[in-house]
Amino acid sequence: MPPLLQIDNVERRFGDRTGVRLDHLELEEGETVLLRGPNGSGKTTLLRLAAGLLRPTAGTVRVLGKDPAREPEVRREIGYLGHELGLYSELTARENLEFYSRVKPRGKGEKPPGPEKIERILDRVELSEAAGIRVEAFSRGMKERLALARVMLFDSSLILLDEPTTGLDQAGIEILISYLKGRAAAGAAALVSTHDGMFQETIEAGVVRLEE
């Protein structure tokens, strides 16, 4: 089986500026890697390349041996949480999860996450009581939890999280760590960008440092 994520000699340029450059990164089953580096070092760009949302200017990105930018079907295996959370403010927390569970492509015979799973995930991120409230009334931390719940809804093989601890309180960070450990035990890999030193100390993970 090919690695869950393999990046080789990748570079992404935005005009004259180099967004990110990385020689090699490989994630195998059960592996968690933290992406660290100063602002502007390309952490977000690298995560977007890994998710297939950007095409590299040079080099290759492979998810399970496939190019996620050219073969969007492999993105089904990816759980991505970007810097912008992708939530619909006018919908409730529950409606957001219901919408995403309905539109997510499925494999043959695969069942969508049903109402029970949605309630279970909402409970896990401690948003059960706020499930019927519109997201526009949420704090940043609650929104972050809900966006994390969207990732948790699908049993992704490759998890890509961009600064997921932003706005999260200690309880939220513990939920995140517990989720990552659970997915790693189930054979998933995760690439997580973070500036959070406490988070790094708490989670057992390799570290890749990007230079400016």
Binding site: L53, A69, E73, G82, E90, E95, Y100, R102, R150
Partner: protein
């Protein structure tokens, strides 16, 4: 899968619309204003259904522009499109679902516009169904092809200039045909060759937009 995604998108957008009214209400307000201006622009007693085709399509164009921009902006902002793309949704399917959803919203906009036009321009009741058919055909075309220039423009730093220019290229031949088909209906000529051309426009321009959508929505 196509039907499931289309249904989910329409359900989500209509639910948002019932809470915000931002796609339909603003458009309806503008279209009714345009109809009123045209109705009062002519001397008393001179307003007739022969002026209706122009007023109707100017109203629809103005209202549609607002609805299109809002509809695209909802998905473009806050990383929503990026999140949908990250789930592996086919961009062509996303575009189709969004167009269907836009058309559903536009129905709420087109109906009062048509009724206001029929009222102020004294369109004979017998001609309203035919005119509604032309408006529906026009609505399908605008919903299928209209988002493309808005998406194209939205990725540019000069979107305020680019989007109207791109829209102009797509909309002008389409709108001229729609006006001609409406005029033919109002003159009692029935569904003329202009109506057939409008239907063909829907097929060709809409189909082309669906084919081009993946290239526009992906990086």
């Amino acid at each position: 899968m196509t039907f499931r995604v289309v249904r989910a998108m329409i359900g989500k957008d209509l639910l948002r619309e019932t809470r915000t009214g931002e796609v339909v209400l603003g458009g309806v307000g503008l279209s009714l204003t345009v109809i009123l201006i045209f109705a009062f622009a002519f001397p008393a007693g001179a307003v007739g259904y022969e002026h209706a085709a122009a007023a109707l399509w100017v109203a629809i164009l103005v209202a549609t522009q607002v609805s299109l921009s809002r509809s695209v902006e909802i998905e473009r902002s806050n990383g929503r499109l990026e999140t949908l793309r990250s789930l592996g949704i086919d961009p062509g399917l996303f575009y189709l679902a969004k167009s269907c959803s836009l058309f559903a919203s536009m129905l709420l906009l087109l109906l009062p516009t048509l009724l206001a036009c029929a009222f102020f321009f004294q369109i004979p009741a017998g001609q309203v169904p035919g005119l509604a058919g032309v408006v529906l055909l026009g609505g399908v075309g605008l919903a299928l092809a209209g988002p493309l220039p808005v998406w194209l423009g939205s990725a540019s730093k000069i979107r305020e200039v680019l989007t109207p220019m791109l829209s102009f290229v797509i909309f002008i031949p389409f709108l001229i045909t729609a006006v001609m088909a409406s005029r033919d209906i109002l003159e009692g000529n029935g569904f003329s060759s202009a109506g057939m051309t409008l239907a063909a426009f829907d097929f060709v321009v809409g189909g082309t937009a669906l084919l081009l959508a993946p290239a526009v929505l992906e990086d």
